[in-house]
């Protein structure tokens, strides 16, 4: 628990960019040199950054699918089971008549699909969140940030790379 609450600051270099293509170039150059654990901040999602980072598609979609299917199954299971649990004939219809139950199953598909999608984003953000990584308020405004985790032996090389790519500011983060 204590480790979660008070995590150490991660040593590395935080660079700010104003130009989008400069930031994308820097990401490609860093990745080519073997820096994989980059954290890239941007005020909005951006295709150029995504292409440079070359991430896999988010696994959130799997949770949407599982949530939706669970909701659908739960909707049919609940209505059919409850109909047989106390069988009452209504309007000469079968005890469990599927067409009206489609409505309930549909609503629960949407409900659980949506909730599990949001829960998945929370889960992945918690699992993949890097605690103690430096941040700057300008990254939610109009700048792009790149954090490169680096030990003291790598810092000067990384800084040179970032500056030549067009970083407007480079900051050293000590542990």
């Amino acid at each position: 628990m204590a480790a979660l609450k008070r995590s150490r600051r991660m040593p590395g270099i935080l660079a700010s960019f104003v130009q989008i293509d400069a930031a994308a170039d820097a990401i490609r150059a860093l990745r080519a040199r073997g820096h994989r654990n980059l954290v890239v901040y941007s005020p909005s999602p951006n295709h150029e950054l995504e292409e440079a980072l070359n991430h896999r598609v988010s696994p959130v979609r799997l949770f949407t699918l599982i949530g939706g299917l669970t909701g659908c199954a739960a909707g049919f299971a609940m209505t059919i089971w409850m109909s047989y649990d106390w069988p009452v004939l209504v309007g000469g219809k079968p005890i469990a008549s599927i067409p009206p139950y489609v409505v309930i199953a549909f609503e629960l598909t949407i409900l659980l699909g949506a909730l599990s999608t949001v829960a998945a984003v929370g889960l992945f953000s918690a699992l993949q969140g890097k605690r103690g990584v430096a941040y700057d308020p300008r990254f939610s405004d109009d700048q792009i940030g790149i954090f490169v985790p680096a030990g003291s032996d790598q810092t000067s090389a990384v800084e040179t790379l970032l500056r030549s790519a067009g970083a407007v500011e480079v900051r050293h983060e000590a542990a």
Binding site: I20, V39, S44, V60, W86, A114, I144
Partner: protein, 456 residues
């Protein structure tokens, strides 16, 4: 190839992008959250006072029972159910704009979707109160939920009323989730601009959002799926509401056209409310440069489309009533136009089917004053549409000797007014405390500066 810049083409292609930088977008939207003006405080006080009228009426209803409302046999569904359908319908435009137009990649939605989505949540929240007010014994409302009661009875899942419980609660949950989820990056942007106790509040509400590559990767995907789930949901909700009526055999209710007719009407009424809300709002919050003539033109086109669908549906209802050869159906529709409630019937037809046809003219579509006036007509017309459908059909239902009229009383009007106060209060509070224009999505449209010129 030589680059030919043609002024009209260029402005047409980029008119959805406000001519601003990223920093200006943050600055201008954060400025809307500043200290409240006197006008805002007066509006909020007005909304709260009207809401208190509703609270007072409701307390009297709880104490004495529903007898104060204008129920009169055979009319046991009247103003409360009318207002329930009205508010559920209002919500639909918000989800259409935020989810369906997102899937269609319609760029004009970006500037207005946050305000319409907030409208959706608060309208459905308002609507949800009405079945509870209407049941009379509010303290046992949970009988609607499927739980094992002491006699081990379950709800009747073949009843559209129980479908409605599921549809409305799902709609409220999913649209609230969608709104809050979309707010996260914007709350982070506000957090990084303000100071003091406000920073503490936005730090908590932004839930640790930093806009990292991983957060955006999951967020963008999730947003897409939420939009894809909300799209069929919104179409289903008003269909289910329409089946509350259509699956009975009351003349005037028993129509297969009801589901699409209700969905079109819902979106039409919702856009009416959107116009009523954002025309004063954009001036009060000084965001006229973000919500422009271009957005109103598009909103008006959507109003024209749904209004024309309503015109068709009204015509079809009358046509089928005549063509069916069913005497009761024919009599019901004759009475709608020439019976004791003729004034309500014509209010509905004129405000909805005819007033919307004015929007064929671009001059009217971009005239903000005209749009505001039309939006008021839409709000009135759509409330009366539900009133006509519900009350005029029920008052002449099956046995002619049992037929009777109903007249709304102070208890009906008090609750109706209170619902506007309640809705207005939440909307005003939202507009002052949360970014009413989606900061992040506006930024997504504005190209960031480049080191090398030109587009990629």
């Amino acid at each position: 190839m030589a680059v030919v810049t043609h002024p009209t083409t260029v402005s047409h292609d980029t008119q959805h992008i406000p001519p601003m930088t990223h920093a200006e977008v943050t600055r201008d939207v954060v400025a809307t959250l500043g200290p409240a003006s006197r006008g805002y405080v007066l509006l909020l006080l007005g909304a709260v006072s009207i809401f208190l009228i509703g609270i007072l009426t409701f307390l009297i209803l709880i104490k004495d029972g529903l007898g104060h409302a204008g129920y009169n046999p055979p009319v046991f569904w009247s103003v409360y159910i009318t207002t329930f359908v009205f508010w559920v319908g209002i919500g639909h435009a918000g989800t259409l704009i935020s989810a369906i137009l997102f899937l269609f990649r319609s760029p004009w939605r970006t500037a207005v979707y946050r305000s319409t989505e907030a409208m959706t949540v608060f309208a459905v929240m308002t609507a949800g109160l009405f079945p509870i007010i209407h049941i009379g014994r509010q303290w046992i409302f949970y009988w609607l939920l499927p739980y094992p009661n002491q006699r081990y009875l379950w709800p009747n899942f073949k009843s559209p009323l129980i479908w409605d419980v599921f549809a409305i609660s799902t709609y409220l949950t999913v649209s609230t989730t969608f709104l809050v989820f979309g707010l996260l990056p914007d709350l982070a942007a506000v957090r990084d601009k303000v100071s003091g106790w406000r920073k503490t509040i936005y730090t908590w509400t932004a839930a640790g959002w930093q806009g990292t590559d991983n957060q955006w990767r999951h967020y963008s995907r999730a947003y897409l799926y939420l939009a894809a789930l909300a799209t069929p949901l919104v179409l289903s909700v008003h269909s289910v509401v329409s089946w509350d009526f259509a699956s009975s055999i009351v003349p005037g209710w028993h129509g297969t056209i009801f589901a699409p007719y209700f969905v079109a009407g819902a979106i039409y009424s919702g856009i009416g409310m959107v116009l009523t809300l954002i025309i004063p709002l954009r001036r009060a919050l000084r965001i006229e440069h973000m919500i422009t003539e271009y957005h109103f033109d598009n909103l008006a086109k959507l109003t024209l489309l749904t209004g024309s669908i309503l015109l068709y549906a009204y015509a079809m209802e009358y046509f089928i009533a005549w063509y069916s050869g069913n005497t009761f159906e024919q009599a019901t529709f004759f009475r709608r136009a020439f019976g004791p409630m003729w004034w309500a019937g014509w209010t509905m037809i004129i405000c909805n089917a005819f007033v919307s046809q004015l929007l064929w003219f671009r001059k009217i579509r971009v005239n903000i004053t005209a749009l505001f006036v039309i939006s008021i007509f839409i709000n009135i017309g759509m409330w009366f549409e539900r009133y006509v459908i519900i009350v005029s059909s029920l008052s002449n239902d099956y046995l002619p000797w049992a037929w009777d009229q109903m007249n709304p009383t102070w208890a009906d009007w008090g609750i109706l007014a209170g619902s506007f106060g309640w809705f207005g209060m939440w909307f005003l509070l939202f507009a002052k405390n949360f970014p009413i224009v989606a900061i992040q999505e506006i930024k997504e449209m504005i190209p960031m500066p480049r080191m090398r010129g030109g587009h990629h």
